[in-house]
């Protein structure tokens, strides 16, 4: 599979050469993350290649939120890094058999993963982003989950992250106001 490297300054690169034209061509390329890649690098990429902004209806608003965040030290102390992993879930016994495949962005601290929905973007931007494994859940058994190495293409990577970020609507807002 063709590979594209996502650099921490937001550029897409192939053979260490930054790509300037036609970024859409790389949507089906396997993603490799540069050392020091953070969520901020992700937004730098969207700013550098504005055409990616059309891939998800929430991306323009996420970008707006990103622009209003501080330039550094946007980290959540409770989270070590962010991980994008895939789940393949086999369901439907008893009932209609179904197979679902979906990406999830979560926080990881040590060996534990955690939900990041409660963190506003200004606590996540400078968190390192890593590609995780594929988790295979069979008939709802979330204890004995099988794990495999996997790859993400650029489209899945962008979509997976933005889907998660569309849930980050700063729930503390009303508490802070009181």
């Amino acid at each position: 599979m063709n590979t594209v490297t996502l650099q921490s300054d937001g550029a897409l690169a192939q053979r260490e050469q930054a790509i300037e034209a036609d970024p859409l061509v790389f949507l089906n390329h396997q993603v490799e993350l540069d050392r020091g890649y953070t969520l901020r690098s992700f937004f730098k990429m969207i700013e550098r290649y504005p055409v990616f902004g059309k891939l998800n209806e929430f991306l323009p608003e996420c970008l707006q939120q990103y622009r209003s965040c501080p330039d550094g030290e946007c980290v959540a102390p409770e989270v070590g890094h962010l991980e994008l992993y895939k789940t393949v879930e086999m369901m439907g016994f008893p009932g209609e058999p179904r197979l679902e495949i979906y990406p999830t962005l979560c926080g990881v601290q040590g060996s534990d993963s955690c939900e990041i929905k409660a963190f506003p973007l200004e606590q996540l931007l400078d968190m390192p982003v890593r590609i995780g494994k594929l988790k295979h859940v069979v008939f709802g058994d979330t204890v004995d989950v099988l794990e495999f190495d996997t790859v993400f293409n650029l489209f899945e990577f962008i979509e997976g992250i933005v889907w998660q970020l569309s849930f980050h609507r700063n729930p503390q807002a009303c508490a802070l106001r009181r």
Binding site: E57, E100, Y102, T104, E115, W163, Q164, R169, N170, R177
Partner: protein, 307 residues
């Protein structure tokens, strides 16, 4: 405004946020709170077993079992029940039908629920029904407002300062507006009346569409003034906003911008026969992502005094 409230719960952690709002409302409005739990779905024919809604296990139904579940509910909401006079009621049957049945029988002013039956991975919500099927059925058929609490809500209702009502000018939207207005007037909140011109549905993506969009925005504004502002009888704390875009994205953006404490919407998006209406995708998407509770209002029953 609220004298009787129904909190429909599975007693699982997904209902915890809704529980806090329900108990808070009971105290603030000195209302009667009914905590309602459906024990299970009965088996076919004559038998004494039910399928537990939460575990899927078959259970022998008896007074002992019902008492045990009530005790479990008391333990689950132990701290919240300390200062409460809530009544715990259980029933056997299809959860949505039983919730609607008790809501009608008790003539409650509002139903409070969590969005899901069980915790879902965020990624999985894309594939599965975004809103739990019970919530969907209740929101569709309830005569009273249904408030869905999907996130922690830290504001008590008496202190609400911003209520956003999203309208598509349907009949149900008028009920939603009237209910939101009644609540805003009661608690002294600012009512933000919002409409999103759906550019995807109207084919405004064409290059020549900009003028048409602006025309539509002006038209919608005029319609809000004629339809809603005339009903407000001198209440001055309001704003009117019309944006263009994808309705659920725009409502969420607007609610965030105004730091909304509550979003009020009609259950189904357009003039649809309620018998055939599924929960509008706009409401579903808003419920899922909103930082504040979302009220689905479908019928004029609880705003009859304003009509």
């Amino acid at each position: 405004m609220f004298t009787k409230l129904l909190f429909a719960t599975t007693a699982s952690p997904v209902c915890d946020n809704a529980a806090k709002v329900a108990f808070d409302l009971e105290m603030k409005w000195e209302a009667k709170l009914i905590i309602f739990h459906v024990l299970g779905v009965p088996g076919r024919g004559f038998n004494l077993q039910v399928t537990d809604v939460r575990t899927g296990e078959r259970e022998d139904i008896s007074q002992d079992y019902a008492d045990w579940v009530k005790e479990e509910l008391r333990n689950t909401y132990g701290t919240l029940l300390e200062d409460s006079n809530a009544e715990i009621v259980t029933a056997i049957g299809d959860p949505a039908r039983e919730v609607l049945r008790i809501a009608r029988k008790e003539d409650v002013d509002m139903i409070l629920m969590g969005a899901h039956t069980r915790e879902e991975d965020i990624g999985a919500t894309r594939h599965r029904a975004i809103a739990g099927s019970t919530m969907r059925k209740v929101a569709k058929a309830a005569r009273c407002p249904v408030v869905i609490v999907n996130r922690p809500c830290t504001t008590c209702w008496r202190l609400f300062s911003n209520i956003v009502v999203g309208t598509d000018f349907s009949k149900a939207s008028t009920s939603a507006f009237l209910w939101a207005y009644k609540l805003a007037r009661e608690v002294g909140a600012t009512l933000h009346i919002f409409h999103a011109v759906d550019i995807a549905a109207q084919g405004f993506a064409q290059p020549s569409g900009q003028n048409a969009i602006e025309q539509k925005i002006k038209e919608s504004r005029r319609r809000i003034e004629q339809t809603y502002l005339t009903k407000m009888k001198g209440y001055g704390q309001f704003s009117v906003e019309v944006w263009e875009g994808i309705p659920y994205v725009e409502i969420l953006k607007f609610a965030r911008d105004r730091q909304a404490d509550l979003i009020v919407m009609a259950h189904h998006a357009r003039e649809v026969d309620p018998e055939h209406a599924e929960l509008g995708s706009t409401v579903e998407q808003v419920v899922l992502r909103a930082a504040c509770p979302v009220a689905s209002v479908n019928h004029p029953d609880k705003v009859a005094d304003l009509v």
